[in-house]
């Protein structure tokens, strides 16, 4: 038996938001290095090495990883279960039964709000079983939450 991949991709704006989120710390680091270079011009080799690492990190985490993540991330909600695929180097496919769902949370960070995105976290009684659907368009997220709470309310069993 195998499980086909979940059908729905995250919002089209997701790679952009992830790239901006990743760019901020790297730009801060680059700024720090510029200040260091302005104050102290000895040890040219060390400056060059640090700059190379920063440029490499910037390219990987701002250009490559967001696109890679966008191609991996998928989510789907069935009548009985919620199913996601996440990650880039380490990829995870996670499925949880909706009858055992305890809470459905929505989280919007500052960047998410700027671009109208939302992240939905579905928790069960196990701390290892929380399912996260990240970077959804706000209206999609609202529909997901409504659907999940609807289905979860039907089952009345103790969710452990």
């Amino acid at each position: 038996m195998n499980l086909v991949e979940p059908a729905n991709p995250p919002s089209r704006k997701a790679p952009l938001v992830w790239a901006i989120g990743a760019a901020i710390p790297w730009l801060v680091l680059a700024f720090g290095q510029l200040v260091w270079f302005a104050l102290d011009r000895r040890l040219g080799l060390l400056h060059a090495a640090a700059a190379a690492v920063t440029v490499l990190g910037f390219v990987v985490f701002v250009a490559v990883v967001p696109v890679w993540r966008y191609r991996v991330h998928r989510w789907d909600i069935g009548p009985k279960a919620v199913y996601t695929r996440t990650g880039w180097l380490v990829q995870e496919r996670r499925i949880a039964p909706i009858s055992r769902v305890q809470t459905v949370d929505t989280y919007r960070g500052p960047l998410d709000r700027m671009f109208g995105l939302a992240n939905v976290t579905v928790t069960t009684a196990s701390s290892a079983g929380a399912v996260r659907i990240v970077a959804l368009d706000s209206d999609v997220a609202d529909r997901v939450v409504a659907r999940l709470t609807d289905i979860a309310a039907i089952g009345g069993e103790d969710a452990t």
Binding site: L3, K80, V90, S127, G129
Partner: protein
């Protein structure tokens, strides 16, 4: 003093007026030392007395400010000298009741009673009555568990069926643990913190010790130190094991109409009792660390909701003969084949991954030693050979350990060498599945399957199963996976 159910707030045993100040004194030793130092430095001994009075006063105040009440729907505990806090626990959420009596408590006939709910409670949010009189415990236990377990009063006095009882022969597994070594290290660390190290630095004792070492020769004195530490650590380990687990008894009480409870009692000096609700049992873990396994031993942990899976809380049997641990687990989960039955191995790719991991360190060392050949001392080569052989043995043992077994009721997974574990998890308790693949796992065609439960350590792994098998395993244990819209038979 009687136990009542009602709206009245009750105080803990008045004998705690003795215990609290003593415990506070022990806990505040640094403050006490500080005030002594301040007293001698300022030439005013009143400082020391003031510190003492403050600590004792705080200890007394703790008794006056703590009260509890067992209401019809919930139990409440009010605590806090400066910050008041009320902790309420719904009675139908109580999953297990455990008791614990340290030495001072026992001398005064007191017992600490802890209530555990399905929620994980740590530190501040744990509901503990510290302490009530020991005679009240059976009645309190019956009242507290009444809503969730419904044991009738006469049932609580029924002796129950004995599953296991501590044998002196179990002591043979305890010298092999590191508890003795850890205790020595802790004692040395404490001594240094207290300033013994600085005092020793240029004392006559240290100098005469160094002189003796020079006369003996460095290697001889080093050997003496190592042997002494080993002997002391073995003695301490055996003693600790005897004091903690001597007189351990594991009972099962069945009540008409439900699954009953497990009752565990152990400790010679500090007596601990746990009562587990059998309905919360989701399986068990047989753990056999390498050194214990060499002598044919294993320890047993319960996998239960509302009981922390990692520490002492879930322990059912300390290291004991493997057959005993297996028999008890078979009895608990009523499925002997899950406990002892053969497992399905994970195949060549998983074995290859064990080998590459184990041999990575020797390989890196070898390259380094070849590159810096002229700087490598000769004695490093035999050490490298020994290390490589050990790593190879580890790889063999780890790949032999890997295996799983699954049906509609139980998931069994075994892994590890230094700390081998066989997890038996009830399929009904699994509330989520994760298939995780790193880049290297994707290339090797294997995956780590993680079963999420609300019990024990929350996540149980089946390591490096062939990727095409991962969802089959999940599907055979959980029908909601097999019946989902995404399932396809290949």
């Amino acid at each position: 003093m009687t136990v009542e159910v009602g709206q009245a707030w009750q105080r803990l045993s008045p004998r705690m007026l003795v215990v609290h100040p003593v415990h506070e004194l022990l806990r505040q030793i640094p403050v006490l030392i500080g005030s002594l130092v301040l007293g001698s430095a300022t030439g005013n001994p009143m400082w020391a007395l003031f510190g003492l009075a403050l600590i004792v006063g705080y200890g007394l105040a703790r008794w006056f400010t703590t009260s509890y009440r067992i209401g019809p729907d919930e139990v409440q505990l009010r605590t806090g000298v400066l910050q008041r806090k009320v902790l309420s626990v719904p009675r139908n959420r109580i999953r297990s009741v455990s008791t614990d009596a340290r030495l001072l408590h026992r001398l005064l006939g007191l017992t600490v009673l802890r209530v555990s709910t399905g929620q994980e409670a740590k530190g501040d949010t744990a509901f503990a009555l510290d302490a009530v009189q020991a005679e009240q415990v059976p009645r309190l236990r019956a009242i507290l568990l009444a809503d969730s377990l419904a044991p009738a009063e006469e049932d609580a006095n029924e002796p129950g069926r004995e599953l296991a009882r501590w044998q002196p022969s179990w002591l043979r597994y305890s010298p092999l643990s590191f508890t003795g070594l850890a205790m020595i290290l802790a004692a040395v660390g404490l001594a240094y913190q207290a300033g013994v190290g600085a005092a020793l630095q240029d004392s006559r004792l240290a100098r005469s010790g160094l002189d003796a070492a020079e006369r003996f020769g460095v290697f001889a004195s080093l050997a003496v130190v190592v042997v002494t530490v080993l002997v002391v650590s073995v003695v301490l380990s055996v003693l600790r094991s005897l004091v903690t687990y001597g007189n351990l008894v594991l009972l099962r009480r069945d009540f008409a109409g439900n699954d009953g409870v497990l009752h565990l009692e152990h400790g010679l000096l500090r007596v601990r009792e746990h009562t587990f609700d059998m309905r919360r049992l989701r399986g068990g873990t047989l753990r056999s660390p390498l050194l214990v396994r060499l002598f044919g031993g294993a320890r047993l942990d319960a996998v239960m909701t509302g009981v922390d899976g990692a520490g002492e809380a879930s322990l059912l049997l300390p290291p004991c003969p493997r057959a005993t641990a297996e028999a008890v687990l078979s009895e608990l989960i009523a499925r002997p084949d899950a406990v002892t039955g053969p497992l399905r191995a994970h195949g060549a790719a998983a074995t290859r991954r064990r080998w590459t991991r184990a041999l990575a360190l020797p390989a890196v060392l070898l390259i380094a030693m070849v590159v810096w050949y002229s700087w490598t001392p000769v004695w490093l080569w035999p050490i490298w050979v020994v290390l490589t052989v050990c790593c190879a043995l580890l790889a063999v043992d780890r790949s032999r350990a890997l295996g799983h077994r699954v049906d509609a009721e139980w998931l069994v997974a075994r892994a590890g060498s230094l700390d081998r574990r066989r997890d038996c998890i009830a399929a009904a308790g699994i509330i989520g599945w994760t298939v995780r693949q790193t880049l290297l796992q994707r290339r090797a065609g294997v995956a780590t399957l993680i079963a999420a439960t609300a019990a024990g350590v929350k996540s149980y792994r089946v390591i490096d199963v062939p990727a095409e098998l991962a969802w089959t395993i999940a599907g055979s244990a959980s029908p909601w996976v097999a019946d989902s819209d995404w399932a396809r038979t290949q």
